[in-house]
Amino acid sequence: MTEAPLLRVRNLRVTYPGEQGDVHAVRDVSFSLGRERLGIVGESGSGKSTTGRAIMGLVPPPGRISADELRLGETDLRGLSERGFREIRGRRVAMVLQDPKYALNPVMRVGRQIAETHRMHVGGGTRAARLAALTMLEAVNIRDPERVYRLYPHEVSGGMGQRVMIAMMLIAKPEVLIADEPTSALDATVQTQVLAVLDDLVRGRGMGLILISHNLHLVSAFCDRVLVMYAGRVVETCAAGRLHEATHPYTRGLLAALPTLEHRRAVLPQLRRDPAWAGE
């Protein structure tokens, strides 16, 4: 990786004001992303989703974002106006959410939802947007794009819905995709297909991918690099292939908790948590 990173994050903090003082959802998270697949793992509440949303400027008020550096290519995302973010979202950085059942507008045909992103960022009118959407549907391995274009979200299966979601988010050719638990709501067999589609497009277009997941297996198999988050902090960063060499006790705990086929366990290990890790 000699070229400049697509995304650079240094000391990202997300804070929510609470009744008993501020709640720090993300504390001093730093990483950079090249044309690679970066995994972020952690339990729910570890701040991994909030990190993704902070990059897109989608932390709902009264949440506050601050960072020493938050740069997408040459663009400084800190203090970027809403209008500025609007031009970036979908166009340069996009996000795939967990469950297509909820993440697609139920009263709008899926084709229109894909075309809408195109019209927004690429322009060229309704007809061009429709053609682009059909091509995009094909690109995510949907066999009958014309038919699927006219369907409503409740009429498509989970796997197809997620492919629609990917099409909707990638149609404007962003540089970075944040996939937040993109396969957690899907059946195991469909998960692989969707990941394959994602992998294809990300590699083919030379994008950077941030895959947010609670699933250590998935992340280590799919990504190049893994960040482990706990209580809003990155506690470990390592290459996916060397995860077994991880040193942090939390990561070790997560690894130990993974079920394996080789040995049966009489007692399931319990994950050890230490508040000190959050305070480092």
Binding site: M95, T117, H121, H154, M168
Partner: protein, 353 residues
């Protein structure tokens, strides 16, 4: 929930058939309930209908003969059955005041009420929905509080009092609108009746003078009724909108770069409409009710004023006829909202597949 099956597969379209059957069933039951209630109201009235016809000086024989003629000597269920049959034929009896069939009377006055209620509903929806959306998107800020207070006063204020204050201010003091009644006396019967809606008839006739005059009479009562429906529509829109703004698809729409405006007014509001249909139908029903009081205040010659006048002349047929009519419109509105629902919500429509 499973319907009948052929060779293991469900019959397509069974869902929609079930839906229609269930709706029709509940409509029929509600209608029967309405007739039972009006029938019993008719029975408990302290005025003796026989005495009302024969007069206090009639002999016992005349009294009994008339009593038998109008069927009051029959057992209650039989009387109810007869009543039901008559109602189904649109026979609500004859009005004592006008000596016309009640149905005829009601058809004469109903367009005036309809004109009032439709304009009021338009005002309520056209203003109430955006206000509700703004309140939801500005939750907890001054816009929200202001709209909340505005609608709070809307459903706390008696419509008859608001009507009087409106007359005092906008008619007597400011002279912006015309006074009570539907039209100035000088313009009476100047345009042929086609729809019964005076403003529409004036437009059809191309008579702008009558149109303007009718509109000047219409605008105040319609605005006051409209304000009441605005209050309810805005409150419901706000709460539906808050529910939609929490949904994931809103986040996804923002993530693909849409403006807040587009996300709120196109995506979220598109889903709110689905829920609002029932609310709007209910609002229209309550407008018909509010019309009784508003028409009294504004001397508006509609169903409300007709019922009120009948009430004080002990014209029970007319009162019960009016109750039935409003009840039937209510039921009809519920039915329509049930039938429109699948047209707006693809998830319900999709059950056909």
């Amino acid at each position: 929930m499973a319907g009948p099956t052929i060779g293991g597969g469900r019959i397509p379209g069974w869902g929609i058939v079930r839906r229609v059957l269930r709706t029709l069933g509940s409509v029929t039951l509600t209608f029967l309930g309405l007739t039972v209630v009006t029938f019993f109201i008719g029975r408990v009235i302290p005025i003796d209908p026989v005495l009302a016809i024969v007069g206090p000086k009639a002999s016992n024989e005349t009294y009994d003969r008339v009593r038998a003629e109008i069927g009051l000597d029959l057992p209650l269920p039989v009387q109810y059955w007869r009543y039901l049959l008559k109602v189904l034929h649109g026979d609500f009896g004859t009005s004592v005041i006008t000596s016309q069939p009640v149905l005829r009377d009601m058809l004469d006055v109903f367009p005036a009420t309809l004109e009032l209620a439709v304009l009021a509903l338009l005002i309520g929806v056209v203003l109430g929905v955006p206000l509700g959306v703004v309140a939801a998107t500005h939750r907890g800020r001054w816009q929200d509080h202001l709209i909340r207070l505005l609608s709070l006063f809307g459903y706390s204020t008696p419509v008859f009092w608001l009507g009087l204050i409106g007359l005092l201010l906008f008619y007597a003091k400011l002279g912006w609108v015309a006074g009570p009644g539907r039209i100035d006396v000088g313009y009476d019967d100047m345009v042929p009746t086609v729809t019964g809606l005076l403003t529409v008839d004036a437009l059809l006739d191309g008579n702008s003078e009558v149109f303007v005059n009718a509109l000047r009479h219409l605008v105040l009562p319609a605005s006051i009724l409209g304000y009441l429906s605005l209050a309810y529509v805005a409150r419901m829109t706000r709460s539906f909108m808050l529910g939609q703004l929490r949904q994931e698809y809103v986040l996804a729409a923002l993530a693909k770069g849409l403006s807040h405006g587009r996300v709120v007014w196109v995506h979220a509001l598109g889903n709110v409409w689905v829920q609002l249909i029932t609310v709007i139908a209910l609002t229209f029903g309550s407008l018909l009710e509010g019309a009784v009081l508003t028409e009294t205040v504004f001397s508006w010659p509609g169903l409300g004023l007709y019922m009120k006048n009948s009430l004080f002349n002990a014209d029970l047929n007319a009162v019960l006829g009016g109750t039935m009519l409003v009840g039937v419109v209510y039921i009809g509105l519920n039915l329509i909202s049930d039938l429109i629902y699948p047209l707006v919500d693809p998830r319900v429509r999709g059950q056909r597949r």
